[in-house]
Symmetry: C2
Subunit: 342 residues, 2 copies
DNA sequence: CTGTTAGCGCCTTCAT
DNA sequence: ATGAAGGCGCTAACAG
């Protein structure tokens, strides 16, 4: 490997001169610079990224920590990453996708700091070791979604108006005459599930409805979204045929609901209305009619959180900001009024 | 920042002992190891990634070099990344998504090596500076798609059977009676466009058809895929109404074709058949009927290329392999026989 | 404007 | 099984 020293020697200058030619941190006479650059090219020299990072204590990389179903990206992740990358690109940062499992991380050999200047954490859980760890090491952090309570006043986050959105869904369905609604919520350990439940219940209580707790179910992380949607719907609709609407955590769960409805001979939206929290970008021939959704905007979440993180990385002192990205109801074909003649 | 030295001092041992506790490169007595680990936890110590990488000359990171439309990921990229990440995950590597523009890279300050052990390069162009550069620096490389000719015998790649697949499309359409076919190919600088053209033309010539060169068009990188599909279709079908089929580079181009057909009052597939090279995962209400496609398998491409790259990184000597992932025709609703009574 | 001297935090010989 | 010393390639602080 060819180093700065080789270039310096060949050009008849000192290492620091070569360093400064590349870093442009101090003025170098034109002739010297050109000579150095010329020799560097001849020798095919490139400054070593790691050595540089070690010296300046910056990596120019931000991390994105995802925990997906079997680490598979969904449409939402895709939009999100597009937002993140776009902003990284503008500001000259790179993105490290972090999907190393907790399990793997606990191997001693791998308990190392991450090569990043900051990190975006998606879908925090109630006792998230990722947050605890980064926070302890003073690594700039932006969380997507509501952080666990103990951290809520300590870090920046970008979130949707989940509570309010859930209330809106409830009001929307109630207004259309639905009284027995099945809510297939996110896994209980995700902070988002609590937010949604809160808004949802408040809306129901506001109109004096004694809502049966039983009809809010939380996905287990052991089940895939599709399975959860399918199995739960079959079971619940069999037990309680008066259910006329289902609200789901995401579009895959909704797909499971569609399949269940089809299997049970129920028509959407005539017999069953479906609404999903989703970025609305999933279309599949199976998803007919098109899914009414509370439309998350993955790309905006991605770009906003990245801006926030980079701002924090560059800032002198710690700053805290919260950004709420509103999600709105997008009515498509999967919801309808309840027929009076039931 | 707390370093190895601090831990060593607190534990009453030497730096190298601490180092070996973490790296497990040489045996350490149980008591010492536990004491060190204990103190490390108390002090919240984590080995520094950059320092470690500098010393051992490994990063544990692989790079993925993408050049998309405005750096936006498509469905294909998504599947591809899922394949890559899955393999990274299994083998304990991390993924760096590299979308820094050429333009940006040319700023002197940024002409630095990448912090990766190897790189996957997507969609090579005929004179790809990315390949040239990595190759010159002896960085393990896997290319997705056919590399430029000068490198074809020098590096590993994973490709689809593009030439053969294009021939199959041609035969398929000819067999259904189509004689005037519009081929909206990939940009000319992408090596894949040549591959496809080759197979396509051979198939046409085989049945003795003098095919008019004019009907193969290449997307300009200045146009978005959708615009290219739309504008070209409108123009070509206006000039030559006898065209009964369109083959497209990807599903977004196909979407443009659908829009054009709709605008011109043509029905798909009755008046116009459409086939796309696509991973078949794009569905949108606009894409009705479902698109017949030569189905790329992004996930397999991703995982195979990653396996190949990691194998190469770990290998003692340079190895070269080629992997061909077949793509097959998936007939859906957008293609039909030509009516005889034309 | 340029050179010299110390590190950055870890790993790696070579000792013991 | 453990220490001590030198080096990975670069930057930074101080000189001039």
């Amino acid at each position: 490997m060819i180093t700065m020293y080789d270039v310096a020697k060949a050009a008849g200058v000192s290492k620091s001169t070569v360093s400064n030619v590349f870093s442009q941190k101090r003025p170098i006479s034109k002739e010297v610079r050109e000579r150095v650059l010329d020799i560097a090219k001849q020798l095919n020299y490139k400054p070593n990224y790691m050595a540089r990072s070690l010296a300046i204590k910056e990596t120019g990389i931000i991390g994105l920590s995802l925990i997906g179903e079997k680490i598979k990206f969904s449409q939402f992740h895709l939009s999100f990453m597009n937002g993140v990358l776009n902003e990284c690109y503008k500001q000259g940062y790179r993105l490290l996708v972090n999907t190393l499992s907790e399990e793997y991380k606990h191997q001693v050999s791998n308990v190392a700091s991450d090569p990043v200047d900051g990190e975006i954490i998606l879908a925090p859980s109630k006792n998230d070791s990722r947050i605890r760890e980064k926070e302890a090491n003073n690594i700039p952090l932006v969380v997507i979604g509501k952080p666990p309570e103990e951290f809520e006043d300590k870090l920046s986050y970008v979130d949707n108006n989940n509570s309010q959105a859930a209330a809106q869904v409830a009001e929307y369905l109630l207004e259309m005459g639905h009284e027995n609604i099945l809510f297939l919520n996110a896994p209980k350990i995700r902070t988002v599930s609590g937010e949604r439940e809160k808004g949802y219940m408040e809306a129901l209580e506001k109109i004096g409805m004694k809502h049966n707790q039983q009809t809010i179910l939380y996905r287990s992380e052991k089940l895939t979204s599709i399975d959860f949607g399918f199995k739960t719907t079959v079971k619940m609709l069999t037990d309680n045929p008066r259910i006329t609407a289902v609200v789901t955590d995401n579009d895959k769960v909704a797909l499971g609901v569609y399949r269940a409805a089809k299997g049970m001979g129920l028509s959407i939206p005539n017999d069953l209305s479906v609404v999903a929290f989703s970025d609305g970008s999933m279309f599949s021939p199976e998803l007919t009619p098109p899914l009414t959704c509370m439309r998350l905007n993955g790309e905006v979440l991605g770009s906003e959180s990245t801006k926030l993180l980079l701002e924090q990385i560059k800032a002198e002192h710690k700053i805290m900001k919260r950004i709420i990205v509103p999600i709105e109801l997008e009515e498509r074909g999967s919801t309808a009024r309840v027929e009076n003649n039931t």
